[in-house]
């Protein structure tokens, strides 16, 4: 018996090494691209353009950051994203909590109809075209509301909050009601204080979702002064709005233009860092809430 156990251990040592090694490779593949962008953003522009940097920045160049901090369009879009994220998070919490509260009362008349009412859109959706036409025909197109209003509700989150509320002990809820609290008071002073974990999860999911989304803003907002950060990023990173077909009167102008082009090229990496850094810095603090959210989401009714 004892000998047998040792045999397993011997075999495991090699397996252990292999497992640790593979895990290290996975971590490397995940982290390196981000680190790489960071060192590119700090390298000399000419070197960054050819990407001949691998481990440490070559030279130390802050010019990209100086340039980007002067770009008003970046800050406008940054501000817009912060506003959208804040408003949508508050709106989301408000609509989810109120609706879920009502649903958490089993004696609510017509409860099964109301459940059907919110479940149907989970399985069937009209798709992007009707939503787009709705925005145009209701005068929401190219206004912040086209982004904010649909972002202030989520059937999925309503269901999450509902199941959380339903887990609140019956005695606790009834006690408040017996003390004479009406429904508004019960929601505000009994339900919400003990539901902080789920509220944090939903607020964070909403904020990260708004922060990272580009598709809906691209559909509904054409005015660059209203556009969020991700659309600014798309212009810089994907569309690369620098034109290459201009005529140059002199060789000097051409050289100046090419230098400009090279440093603009580097701005891509700088912009990635500036726009992603808040998320990465905040990440260690909020990631546990996300994990919690995944667990809550996997609960089946």
């Amino acid at each position: 018996m004892k000998k047998n156990r040792n045999a397993i251990r011997e075999g495991s040592r090699f397996a252990d090494a292999a497992i640790y090694f593979i895990a290290a490779i996975v971590a490397f593949i995940t982290l390196y691209p981000l680190y790489y962008v960071l060192i590119l953003s700090l390298s000399e522009p000419e070197i960054a353009a050819t990407m001949r940097v691998y481990w440490f920045p070559k030279g130390l160049y802050w010019g990209g950051y100086e340039k980007i901090f002067e770009d008003v369009r970046l800050w406008i879009s940054y501000r817009n994203t912060l506003i959208y994220a804040g408003v949508e998070a508050v709106g989301m919490l408000f609509t989810c909590c109120t609706f879920a509260y009502a649903l958490s009362w089993k004696k609510l008349r017509g409860r099964s109809w109301i459940n059907a009412f919110i479940l149907i859109p989970m399985y069937f959706s009209g798709g992007i075209i009707p939503l787009f036409l709705l925005m145009i025909n209701f005068g929401l197109y190219n206004t912040p509301w086209a982004l904010i209003l649909p972002g202030c509700y989520s059937i999925w989150y309503i269901i999450l909050v509902r199941s959380y509320f339903s887990s609140i002990p019956e005695t606790l809820r009834e006690a408040a009601r017996i003390d004479g609290a009406n429904h508004y008071q019960t929601l505000w002073s009994i339900y919400l204080p003990i539901s902080k974990p789920i509220l944090a999860v939903i607020a964070l999911y909403t904020i990260v979702g708004v922060w990272n989304s580009w598709y809906h803003p691209a559909l509904f907002l054409t005015d660059t002064n209203l556009q969020p950060l991700q659309l600014y990023l798309r212009r810089v990173l994907v569309e690369q709005t620098i034109s290459f077909t201009e005529d140059f009167a002199s060789a000097e102008m051409l050289v100046a233009y090419q230098e400009e082009k090279i440093s603009n090229n580097q701005l891509k990496y700088t912009v990635i860092i500036v726009s992603t850094l808040p998320m990465i810095v905040a990440y260690p603090f909020f990631q546990r809430y996300f994990i919690k959210g995944v667990m809550l989401g996997s609960l089946k009714e």
């Binding site: 397993i8 075999g11 252990d16 640790y20 593979i22 895990a23 996975v26 971590a27 995940t30 982290l31 981000l34 790489y36 353009a49 050819t50 990407m51 989810c96 109120t98 609706f99 009502a102 004696k107 609510l108 009412f117 919110i118 859109p121 069937f124 959706s125 009209g126 798709g127 992007i128 075209i129 009707p130 036409l133 709705l134 025909n137 209003l149 509700y153 059937i155 009834e174 017996i178 009406n182 508004y184 990272n212 580009w214 598709y215 991700q230 990023l233 798309r234 810089v236 990173l237 994907v238 891509k268 990635i272 726009s275 992603t276 990440y283 990631q287 996300f290 995944v294 667990m295 996997s298």
Partner: protein, 310 residues
């Protein structure tokens, strides 16, 4: 005491603030009707010839054309192209994107050093929080002719190529990017299920002489089978929904032959091209098939594994 409680409860039940519950439902209900139900009803434009300026959504004042748009989609050359591309990308995503989190979770579960395990796990979630635009921007610049990938490959004597413009490369670029971004986050579910497995099961397996591989095969894997089944059903329902978010950023006209999916087609022809009724029909067609697929896989999964969505 119980009598007392019962009485009190009846008292509270008879209170007449039940209407408050309905007022509390108004905010969400209004938004659901506006942005879920009206678009759902607005799908009727798939059977109309809708032009900008027509009333929306309306049954009169717009020309009804029946299944014209459905037929013209099915008869067009785009039907086969978008369908095949969508299904190809979905299957590749299923093959790699669906299995990677499972393998990753099983693998990392075997790491004994708790801190190292935690570190790799936390790192693996990170890409999920990086925005699609930034991820696509990174992919595009790494793949440039003098970019990182070509520099690395040139060390092995591979001559540089602009991979992003070749149709045969696109599915791999798309799939790799998708997997890179989502595998860590998708593995959370498996991690948490694995950590909930009763340690006594492993203990008794060890006494019976099972080695690590056998323990994984006969204890860990069966314990997460339920989650795998449910995830698979959900993925099958999504088979016609590729990641349009990412595709729109990575694809270009030179790769349409492999990159143009139903989602990107609807965006290009509908939103940008203004053929609203036609693309609404394409979208409706797609969601009907998607629902049917979910339904069928759910039945199969229920029969084979005993688990399903419903």
């Amino acid at each position: 005491m119980t009598m007392h409680w019962k009485k009190m409860r009846e008292l509270s039940r008879s209170r007449s603030d039940g209407w408050q519950l309905y007022t509390l439902m108004i905010p969400a209900a209004v938004l659901v009707i506006l942005f879920s139900y009206i678009p759902l009803y607005g799908v009727i434009i798939a059977f109309q010839d809708y032009k900008l300026g027509d009333p929306f959504p309306a049954v009169s004042g717009v020309e009804w054309v029946g299944f014209k748009h459905f037929l013209s989609y099915i008869e067009s050359k785009f039907f086969a192209r978008t369908m095949i591309n969508t299904i190809r990308l979905s299957l590749m995503n299923l093959l790699f994107g669906f299995t990677t989190p499972i393998i990753f979770a099983l693998l990392l579960n075997e790491v004994r050093n708790a801190r190292y395990k935690k570190f790799v796990q936390t790192v693996s979630y990170l890409p999920y929080f990086i925005s699609m635009v930034v991820v696509a921007g990174m992919v595009l610049s790494f793949l440039e002719i003098n970019g990182l990938i070509n520099n690395l490959l040139s060390l092995f004597g591979v001559s540089p190529r602009e991979y992003i413009i070749y149709p045969e490369c696109y599915p791999w670029i798309y799939t790799f990017t998708n997997v890179w971004k989502s595998f860590g986050f998708a593995s959370i579910l498996y991690f948490s299920t694995i950590s909930g497995i009763d340690p006594a099961l492993y203990e008794s397996a060890r006494i019976d002489g099972a080695n690590r591989w056998q323990q994984m095969l006969h204890i860990t894997l069966p314990s997460i089978l339920y989650i795998i089944a449910v995830q698979l059903v959900m993925q099958m329902g999504q088979i016609l929904n590729t990641n349009t978010d990412l595709a729109l950023l990575l694809y270009r006209s030179s790769t349409y032959s492999t990159s143009d999916t139903i989602g990107t087609y609807i965006y290009r022809i509908g939103i940008q091209g203004g053929k609203y009724s036609y693309t609404a029909a394409v979208g409706l067609f797609m969601s009907v098939i998607g629902f049917a697929l979910t339904f069928i896989t759910n039945r199969i999964s229920n029969r084979l594994t005993g688990y399903g969505l419903w």
